[in-house]
């Protein structure tokens, strides 16, 4: 029975194109994010804070930015590695880096609240939704690239992988928004920037996992 299966698999064998290195895929994801931000900038949509802006010397602002960067790196790495057998160590590392990023971002918010003296601009629902939606918009292409790779490789747990890809890609978008958003309110930064990846995970994991499952079956 099993011998027959082996002969069957051997008969079915066709040359395959190997998956690219994970580093190359990761670099592609980051490059796509840079291109999106650049295009947005050239179109006049995205404008970074001025170099003289006081936020660049604020520990809470920088901690939130570093936290988002770590979540982007860690979650995207974990999503990519989870679809390649034998890369469990990279998945674990990615998850740890992401957890560190979340802790750092939350620490940034606590620092911001503790420092006081900030303005309250941007705490209305419209501003919060605007920034969160922008983060999602900027993250769409990186998320799509990561998911396409995962579906082409060896997708195993679609929901977990989709959640990680979403968290990573939208964290990239949120980092870009964090750099350009004029609001210095810690509450705005927490809800509209830091929580944007979490909101994307909650709202979009299920449909994305379904989509990835379909891609994987077609591949």
């Amino acid at each position: 029975m099993t011998d027959e299966r082996i002969r069957e698999l051997a008969r079915d064998l066709e040359p395959v194109r190997r998956i690219p290195r994970l580093r190359a895929v990761g670099a592609g994801v980051v490059a796509s994010w840079v291109l999106v931000v650049l295009a947005d900038w050239l179109a006049g949509g995205w404008t970074p804070r001025a170099a003289s802006d006081s936020a660049w010397t604020s520990p809470s602002y920088l901690a939130a930015l570093a936290g988002l960067a770590l979540v982007a790196f860690g979650a995207t790495s974990a999503a990519l590695a989870s679809s390649v057998p034998g890369r469990a160590a990279a998945v674990r590392l990615g998850l740890r880096v992401s957890a560190l990023g979340v802790a750092l971002a939350l620490a940034g918010w606590i620092l911001g609240v503790a420092a006081g003296g900030h303005d309250h601009g941007g705490e209305d629902l419209g501003s919060i939704l605007g920034c969160a939606t922008r983060a999602l918009g900027i993250g769409v292409i990186p998320v799509t690239l990561a998911c396409a790779f995962v579906a082409y490789a060896a997708l195993r747990r679609a929901s977990l992988t989709a959640a990680l890809a979403l968290a990573g890609g939208v964290a990239l978008g949120a980092a870009a928004v964090h750099v350009s958003c004029p609001s210095n309110s810690p509450l705005h930064q927490l809800v509209a920037h830091t929580f944007a990846p979490a909101a994307a995970v909650v709202l979009l994991t299920a449909p994305l996992a379904l989509l990835m499952g379909r891609w994987a079956r077609r591949g």
Partner: protein, 195 residues
């Protein structure tokens, strides 16, 4: 143990070469590779699953998963770690399916001995004395697994960690604790000694 590690190193090279050839479409190399991996998979699965019918299902799933995921192997990565991850995933999938069906409780911790009828080129634990096998059976499951993978099978720490699904550091700690306990159980004699 060094001899086994040497055997594993040779198998690693052989399997890697065959997998690279298989990725290029070499059917003969692929068939040989699958035949050899089949023996190894049967042993690994037999160690962890009691039901003989289920074992063959799992082994077939391993082969099918390997076939589907063959494009994910990259030559610069160790082949055995890649294969062991597929093997482990197949075992986990089977356990989850079992859990869902709730037919009976079978866990990775419910272990049997080696199947003596299976002949393979992969290293086996034929050299273990009955006393040693009894002492191994008395270890906690996670420590037993670590000791078997590293000290009995002679796998590298990286491969053993891939198969156990833990970090290399965690596996080393488990193996160290298991080895200490084995020494105690065997009354201070060398656990590596054969019959």
């Amino acid at each position: 143990m060094k001899e086994r590690q040497q055997q594993w190193a040779e198998l690693e090279q052989l399997w890697r070469a065959r997998m690279i050839a298989a990725q290029a479409g070499d059917r003969a190399a692929y068939e040989k590779l699958l035949q050899e991996l089949l023996l190894h998979a049967r042993r690994r699965v037999a160690r962890q699953v009691r039901e003989s019918a289920a074992r063959e299902d799992i082994v077939q799933n391993v082969l099918i998963s390997l076939h589907r995921a063959r494009h994910t192997y990259r030559p610069e990565r160790p082949f055995t770690a890649w294969f062991h991850a597929i093997l482990r995933n197949a075992l986990i999938d089977w356990m989850r399916a079992q859990g869902r069906r709730a037919r009976r409780e079978v866990s990775l911790e419910a272990q049997t001995g080696w199947e003596p009828s299976v002949e393979a080129r992969v290293p086996s634990d034929d050299s273990l004395s009955p006393e040693m096998q009894r002492a191994l059976a008395a270890l906690p499951a996670t420590q037993r697994e670590a000791v078997e993978l590293i000290h009995v099978d002679g796998l590298s720490v990286a491969d053993a960690a891939a198969l156990a699904g833990v970090s290399p550091g965690a596996l080393k700690v488990r193996a160290h604790r298991g080895y200490k306990l084995l020494r105690t159980l065997l009354g201070g004699s060398d656990p590596g000694a054969g019959p």
